[in-house]
Amino acid sequence: MNFAFTEDQMAFRDAVRTLLEKECPPEVVRARWEGKPTEVWASLSDMGVVGMTAPEDAGGLGMDELDLVLVLEECGRAALPEPIVEHAAVVIPALREGGGKTAQRWLPMLAAGEAVATAGLGEAPLVPDADRAALLLDDHDGCLHAVEMSACELTPLDSIDRGRPLFAAAWYAEKDTKVEADFELAFDRAALGASAQLLGLADRMISMTVEHSKEREQFGRAIGSFQAVQHRLADALLRLEFARPVVYRAAYAVARPGECAPADRSLRVSMAKAYAGDAATDAARAALQIHGAIGYSWEFDLHLFMKRAWSLAAAYGDGSFHRRRVGDWLQQREDSDA
């Protein structure tokens, strides 16, 4: 029994954080808002992050969700404006498991970051970052299909987060688009990936707000010395710190299918998504309230993180969707030995 990450996992996480601090500051997120290309995908590809879940013989690092969850947390902290969850957490693993020609053809390109993949697996047919992607993983009649984006008709939608633009994609399911991989697992992976990013977003917004509240003075003292501000931030931290192990536990459940039946995996992922979404939207609320009017300003960076938090909290099932899934599981389980 050991609920801890390895030194290697943490070192890789730290390296990604350092890279993103340098290469993905808020200006890069803003550039994506304005439709400009970013360089950060190439840097992440060079580092192996983009292909980390691909098999080594396809040029990847052969890593699993336990490695990935820490990395995605960092991507959330930076509000990375790229479909890293769909690409690395969903599509590559599905192709890896589904095998066949599609995998043979695409995995090396995806692992190298030369091609970008995205997915459309939510209740609503929303595909993030389809404008950046060459390959789409989507579901049809309960099955997964991989379709080249050039064969899709894309309609841009009005995403609340322009750093994560959304599209409707129309395409034709054919025999050779089918991928022999599990839809539920792909959905759980997407929800897990979003959860990890939400942790990073919550952490970032709490940090920003702590700094602000130490500096901003009202009534002759730093606002961070007021008990109301302290307790609000304490609550935000509490939610984050208890969401964290729940997300890590879900990553473990996905990474170790041998120890975990699919229903139990979905249970763990649902708990993760519910807690991480609440942690991030709560942190956003606290951050905006404590920043006051400045938090509203377009020029101030808070809204970049806040909108990503709202977007991801709603993506791949929101809190009430996932709590209902937990409730269904509780109603159906055979006895109380969970």
Binding site: E299, G317, S320
Partner: protein
Amino acid sequence: MDLTYSAPEAAFRAEARAWLDANVGPFRDASSNTADGFAKLREWDRLLFDARLSAVSWPEEYGGRGASLWEWLIFEEEYWAAAAPQRNSQNGIFLLAPTLFEFGTNEQRGRILPKMASGEEVWAQGWSEPNAGSDLAGLRSRAERVVEDGRGGWRLFGQKTWCSRGAFCDRLFGLFRSDPTAERHRGLTYLMVDLRAEGVEVRPVQVLDGEEGFAEVFFDGAFVPDQDVIGEPNDGWAVAMATASSERGLTLRSPGRFLATADRLVELWRARGDRSDPAVADSVVRAWMDAQAYQLFTQQAVSVLMAGEDKKMGAEASLNKVWWSELDLSIHEAALGLLGDEAQLDSDWLRGFEFALAGPIYAGTNEIQRNVIAQRLLGLPRG
């Protein structure tokens, strides 16, 4: 207790409803935070003014109808039920006008109010400064007393910020520090200034929704004549505070506004049918009930105001403020909960949510309102 409306009240409701139905259409989607929308909404204020519906509670001489608070509530219910737009003139009508009625001169009222109600002159508020948000007494913008060519007045220096619709407004009202040697709450003067005057620079500020109605305003020697002081010089704090605890606590956000939004929430809920989660249903019911409770609380408060001689809300206005601002958030959060995954997309609900998030911040943060409730209504000691 008698909760029936009189025949004239019912007739007024019918008139307002019919007029709004006939006229609101082309203005419904105009946003006062865009230049085009603002221009359109000047027309809308003019239309309302011509129908004597722009400021129904004002005396007839200024373009109102001398309507009672009950009629004002009726008008607001109809206004928002008709999905009519946020008005350009709201800061003028709900913030400046009550101050003018209480502290202004007849000359000021006659000169300012009709143009305010007709949309000819749109007013921005200038409460916030970079270092004075919640702490209004921390204001630093200065007003220097001058007499030039025999004309008495003030020269303004400094900066105001978060002026709603300031990018498009004509004039601004606010407090300026006129006696720098006085204590924090003293030495402030309540002034009205022309935003087109020399020595005024207005810089638009983009906010969350990307629109540019907000502005920062910089003063570098802009002139304000004596006739544009409200109340006594150096007594601005008392003027601002007295008005803040008057009916304004009641009329800043009318129940009609939230009743209409809550009804739209119920429509959304019904339209989504089985797709909505039972847990979300409870949040819909709670939000709808909170809007009802706000209406009832307001009706009770109006009954007290109508009965008393001194029309003051006092610290009760803080209860009001906390309730409507959190109610507004509850309604929009419930709606986003109903939307589920679709809440990733922009929508009126999302924009309403962003707007609602500001509620607990402006007009005195809810933290400060709770301090006031605890200290002034419950009598707890200051910290």
